[in-house]
């Protein structure tokens, strides 16, 4: 009875560590070549490769995609249809003057309350906090959260309310955070946010967030044609 080959040669460890990546074709050519050479000389590693190749073949066959349930795609397409706007309205909202005007307004609103909070030592701090998404202008004016969702003024952007008269604005360059900035449906949501806060202007560079749910129930009246538009950056 011949003794079982053991993986003890130099190079075995590297081979076994990279076997899956070799199979996936994800290793640089040089490295892949070196491992192939090793497998030719090393019985133990060659055996392992045979096993792993068999597993890969079988798993690829077994793990096939399940088709989506019938009707789901149709439902999604209707939802997209309902969401899309007629071109004329969309173009008006994205007129060249519109976004700069909205941005300028937000900037003005941010700077004014921030001035008294100027901190000469201030800079960037890491924060993790639960906040509420609000319509910045409406909230400062004392409008209730449920009414804020129905605010018809399209240039009102959202902010993260930390406490009374304490708001954080998201930096505009963050693509995935832009929904938080503009979506009226997000108003009233409690979020746990993590990121870098610039304490001088209260802008938050969002690292991640978790939606904790709504503070208020969604109570939109059924038949009100609302002109709230999500401004896509």
């Amino acid at each position: 009875m011949t003794e079982r080959p053991t993986a003890r040669k130099p190079g075995c460890r590297e081979f076994q560590r990279n076997i899956y990546h070799l199979q996936a074709g994800e290793l640089p050519d040089e490295q892949a070549e070196a491992l192939a050479v090793h497998a030719e000389a090393c019985t133990a590693c060659a055996e392992r490769l045979v096993v792993e190749d068999a597993f890969l073949r079988a798993l690829r066959r077994k793990l096939t995609r399940e088709p989506a349930p019938p009707g789901l795609q149709a439902r999604v397409r209707s939802a997209l249809e309902r969401d899309a706007v007629p071109a004329t309205i969309w173009h008006w909202l994205h007129a060249p003057w519109f976004m700069p005007a909205a941005a300028a307004l937000v900037l003005a609103l941010v700077l004014i309350p921030a001035l008294p909070a100027w901190d000469s030592l201030g800079g960037v701090v890491l924060v993790e906090r639960e906040v509420t998404v609000v319509d910045y202008t409406c909230d400062r004016a004392g409008v209730s959260l449920s009414q804020q969702r129905q605010c018809p003024l399209v240039h009102h952007l959202n902010a993260l309310k930390v406490g009374p008269d304490d708001y954080w604005i998201l930096t505009a360059d963050q693509v995935e955070a832009s929904k938080l900035m503009v979506d009226p449906e997000m108003r009233g949501h409690r979020l746990l946010v993590e990121g870098e806060l610039d304490t001088r202007n209260h802008t938050l560079k969002l690292a991640r967030f978790a939606d904790r749910g709504e503070v208020i129930a969604s109570a939109l009246p059924a038949a009100v044609p609302l002109l709230l538009i999500a401004a896509v950056p």
């Binding site: 079982r4 080959p5 560590r17 899956y20 990546h21 996936a24 994800e26 019985t43 060659a46 055996e47 392992r48 045979v50 096993v51 068999a54 597993f55 890969l56 073949r57 079988a58 798993l59 690829r60 066959r61 077994k62 793990l63 096939t64 995609r65 399940e66 088709p67 989506a68 349930p69 789901l72 795609q73 439902r75 999604v76 397409r77 939802a79 997209l80 969401d83 899309a84 706007v85 007629p86 071109a87 309205i89 969309w90 173009h91 693509v175 995935e176 832009s178 929904k179 979506d183 449906e185 746990l192 967030f209 978790a210 939606d211 609302l226 709230l228 538009i229 999500a230 896509v232 950056p233």
Partner: protein, 207 residues
């Protein structure tokens, strides 16, 4: 109620995104482990993707972009609390896997092949269960690599993780999955000695 992009963009979006519908549904199922939630998740993710379509850079991997949106939607909506990465003893997994492979496939020529185990030794439901049992971080990577056959770069993009993390999660994920499948098959008795029956696959002789 708010509105999204215009109609002409909708056609463009559908053309680009709908080919990946089934793939997205499978990822949703993999994440939520629940059909109803998976359907809702897919719908919500598509709507978000549509709203964000302007931010998608043409020519880049739309599949990875869609996967990322779906996963972020899952995290925001269905994963309630901040989930700590699962505490897994890696050394134990590796050692256990080595032993299983050695005992099951290498020690004896009469034993089953990995194909016997995966194709005949376990039912489709058991494979799904073994996948579902994987910690979430490994599950997504294994699904994207094996079922969707995405490149490591695409997986890294879809999950917003470094390439090195994709590699280590795939490595460990596959080992955990394969070990689980072997142990299911063993429980069901695929390893009963069948000395008179020639192996169906004609196993390669490593010597």
């Amino acid at each position: 109620m708010s509105f999204g992009p215009p109609h002409h963009r909708k056609d463009e979006f559908e053309e680009a995104a709908l080919p990946h519908f089934d793939a997205l549904f499978n990822l949703a199922l993999n994440l939520t482990r629940n059909r109803k939630d998976a359907e809702d998740l897919v719908q919500e993710a598509f709507l978000r993707a549509f709203r964000f379509f302007n931010s998608y850079r043409k020519g880049t991997h739309i599949k990875a972009w869609l996967f990322r949106i779906l996963r972020n939607t899952f995290i925001n909506r269905y994963r309630a609390a901040k989930v700590r990465p699962t505490e897994v003893d890696f050394a134990k997994i590796e050692a256990s896997y080595e032993q299983i492979v050695d005992e099951t496939f290498l020690r004896s020529r009469q034993g089953p092949s990995p194909e016997d185990v995966v194709m005949d030794g376990v039912l489709d439901d058991e494979v799904r269960q073994a996948m579902d049992d994987l910690p979430e971080e490994y599950r997504s990577v294994v699904l994207m690599a094996l079922m969707e056959q995405m490149s490591y770069k695409e997986i890294a993009s879809a999950l917003s993780i470094p390439l090195g993390t994709v590699m280590s999660r795939l490595h460990r994920g596959r080992k955990m999955l394969q070990a689980a499948l072997v142990s299911y098959a063993r429980q069901k008795g695929i390893f009963k000695p069948a000395a008179d029956v020639p192996s169906p696959e004609g196993k390669k002789d490593p010597k």
